[in-house]
């Protein structure tokens, strides 16, 4: 196990474009595997050592310690939807600024002006949403 990990990490260190972009992701795959293995392992091992006593109260869905009221599958307010939509829109904005941040040092002032224009246009949208009361809950 451990030698394999070291071998793979060594591969990553000598990653070149010719190898394709796959090898660089091996540490991430390892992280993913380990973070999956720990909780699954802990729960599996715990199964053999714990005592299982089921009671009505224990099997109840947890709602902040209060007895559950009604069905969980209830209709939710449209306000959540508006918030989610605004989040989506500004999320898209963020993803466009991500590449700018990476080449920021090379583009210098020019890039800064570009990004400021980009953001300035969106600030109009933000101001509009604010004044329309889209950010208020009531």
């Amino acid at each position: 196990m451990v030698p394999t990990v070291f071998f793979l990490l060594q591969q990553t260190a000598t990653d070149t474009p010719a190898r394709g972009p796959i090898m660089g992701y091996i540490p991430i795959a390892l992280l993913f595997a380990i973070s999956l293995a720990i909780p699954v392992g802990a729960l599996t091992v715990g199964r053999f050592f714990r005592r299982t006593v089921m009671t009505q109260e224990k099997m109840m869905p947890y709602e902040c310690g209060v007895d559950p009221v009604g069905d969980a599958r209830d209709r939710i307010s449209v306000r959540y939807y508006i918030i989610a939509m605004l989040f989506l829109i500004f999320d898209v904005e963020t993803i466009f600024l991500f590449p700018w941040a990476v080449v920021f040092d090379q583009l210098a002032l020019f890039g800064l002006i570009e990004a400021l224009i980009f953001i300035a246009i969106l600030v109009v949208g933000y101001y509009y949403a604010w004044r329309k009361g889209a950010l208020d809950w009531a």
Binding site: Q106, L107, F110, V124, G125, Y127, Y128, R131
Partner: protein
């Protein structure tokens, strides 16, 4: 394949920025209209409309600076070939500005009446116009798609602008879902074009495709098939927007359900934008695929669509009683006529396309302006019967309406006739027998169209006023609207009798289409 940039290229300069001056001004005004909307009290919201009109005037002034550039045969390219300015782009941007200005002017009273006076409405029209203007100036797939979406997205919202009106909601839903689906198809087609040619620049795409069509080299296979798939997908997306058969189903519902002022706008502005994009794609980027060896080119495909479009549009219009639905089918039929000009592939055909779109903008907004004026609380005024006896109630409005309707019908001595003459004539002039047959079908179609346009005239002049609309309240015609309508009507008649000035303008467009294609290699990246 054009390599993606590894090193930074020379950065755009103020020279590039100067070329998008009209668009920059429009963006500023559109954004300011939004801010104005939330800043103004409810009673003053209509000021946004006047503000938007002033903005459009500034845009027109800025655009006038570019008129001189159309004199050079090569389009001027800026922003790394992302943008180019030629006759087509300059002339059509003026058309868009006029369409937007008319729509705003006709909307002011209507929205007041419906108690929906809000600045967003005008901002949305300005944003849509911005999209159209960029469609007309972009020379690159990505810029074209983003601006096309900007244009469409605003209209989706505008169609559903009356939130409390069920019909408006239904129309917006139908239009949005089908529209977004067709945009996705088009985007898939554009991605295939990029995949095959390796370029997003229209000039370079055209050059690459020309190479494939002339001799599909053996070792690289035959990419023409994949290009055909791309062509069909792109054409489907665009034909949807201009409501050509078989992608026309949304049009009657959307036209009927949308607020009438929005119907007026979408039937001229965004539609003209889609024509421009169609022309850019078919007559420039995919121009080498007009006719191909062993494979059907787009000319044959488009000819079938054009014949179906005008026939279905005209036949369906005959049975309609709702004016907005009728005009929707009439606009479908007109889309068929305009496609003929692109099919013909002659200078005369391109002139016809430009001429007809310009005059159609005047005539169609004119007709809608009067329908908007008929609008009353409780009485919607959208039925053909509601026009009954209009001449005795409001003689001047009836006469104006008659001029626009005759123009749409293409009666000689109106501008509508000249447009149709160029479009149909170009088919015969092309000298191909199969196009001559299509010209005959087109003329027969125009005869059918006379019938339903004549119903307007009969209702207005011969029928007695209906009982239910006999209220004596005056039409909602503001003096500014009345003057604009009169000027439009005079223009329709003037260009019908002496079309030369407008033909010269249309010729600028036709010249730019033919020369740009001939010198596509000249429009490389700056």
């Amino acid at each position: 394949m054009l390599p993606l940039l590894v090193e930074l290229p020379p950065l755009p300069t103020l020279r590039d920025t100067a070329f998008i001056m009209p668009e920059i001004i429009l963006t500023l005004f559109a954004g300011a209209a939004l801010v104005l909307d939330v800043a103004l009290p409810r009673s003053k919201k209509h000021l946004t409309a006047y503000f938007s009109l002033i903005g459009l005037a500034f845009v027109a002034i800025a655009l006038a600076q570019q008129v001189a550039m159309t004199a050079s045969l090569l389009p001027i390219s800026a922003f790394y070939g992302m943008l180019f300015i030629d006759g087509l782009s300059v002339v059509f941007r003026f058309v868009f500005i006029v369409a937007a200005a008319f729509s705003i002017l006709y909307s002011i009273k209507y929205l007041e009446f419906e108690r929906e006076q809000r600045g967003e409405y005008y901002a949305l029209i300005l944003f849509s116009t911005l999209g159209m203007m960029f469609v007309a100036t972009s020379g690159d797939l990505i810029a074209l798609f983003v601006s096309f979406e900007l244009m469409s997205l605003s209209v989706y919202v505008l169609v559903g602008y009356f939130k409390r009106d069920k019909r408006s909601n239904e129309a917006a839903m139908k239009y949005f879902l089908t529209g977004i689906f067709s945009s996705a198809l088009m985007l898939y087609g554009l991605s295939l074009v990029y995949g095959v040619t390796g370029h997003t620049n229209l000039g370079l795409i055209s050059e690459t495709i020309a190479g494939y069509v002339q001799g599909g080299t053996a070792e690289s296979g035959d990419p023409r098939l994949l290009l055909m798939v791309a062509l069909v997908l792109v054409a489907a997306g665009l034909l949807f927007k201009i409501a050509a058969v078989p992608f026309h189903m949304w049009a009657p519902d959307a036209y009927e359900g949308a607020p009438t002022t929005v119907t007026a706008f979408m039937s001229v502005g965004p539609k003209a934008g889609a024509y421009v994009l169609l022309a850019r794609m078919l007559l420039f980027a995919l121009a080498p695929m007009r006719e191909m060896e062993n494979l059907p080119g787009w000319a044959a495909l488009l000819a079938v669509v054009a014949v179906l479009t005008m026939t279905v549009g005209n036949l369906a219009a005959v049975t309609q009683d709702n004016v907005k639905r009728l005009l929707a089918y009439s606009s479908i039929a007109h889309a068929g006529y305009i496609l003929l000009g692109i099919v013909s592939g002659t200078d005369m055909g391109y002139q016809g396309v430009a001429f007809h779109i310009m005059t159609y903008t005047l005539m169609n907004t004119g007709v809608f302006a009067i329908i908007i004026a008929l609008h009353r609380q409780g009485v919607i005024g959208e039925n053909l019967n509601d026009l009954n006896g209009l001449f005795s109630r409001a003689p001047s409005a009836a006469v104006l309406m008659l001029i626009f309707i005759l123009g749409l019908a293409g009666i000689p001595s109106t501008a509508g006739f000249v447009g149709k003459f160029f479009l149909f004539g170009s088919l015969i002039q092309s000298g191909k027998p199969w196009l001559t047959y299509i010209a005959i079908i087109a003329v027969l179609n125009a005869v059918v169209a006379f019938y339903y346009y004549a119903r307007f005239a009969r209702a207005m002049f011969l029928n007695a006023p209906s009982e239910n609309i006999a209220d004596a309240s005056p039409l909602l015609l503001a003096p500014s609207v009345r003057i604009t309508l009169t000027l439009s009507a005079i223009a329709v008649l003037f260009f019908g009798i002496y079309p030369q000035p407008l033909i010269n303008v249309a010729d600028i467009v036709a010249q730019s289409i033919t020369t740009v294609y001939a010198q596509s290699s000249g429009i490389a990246l700056r």
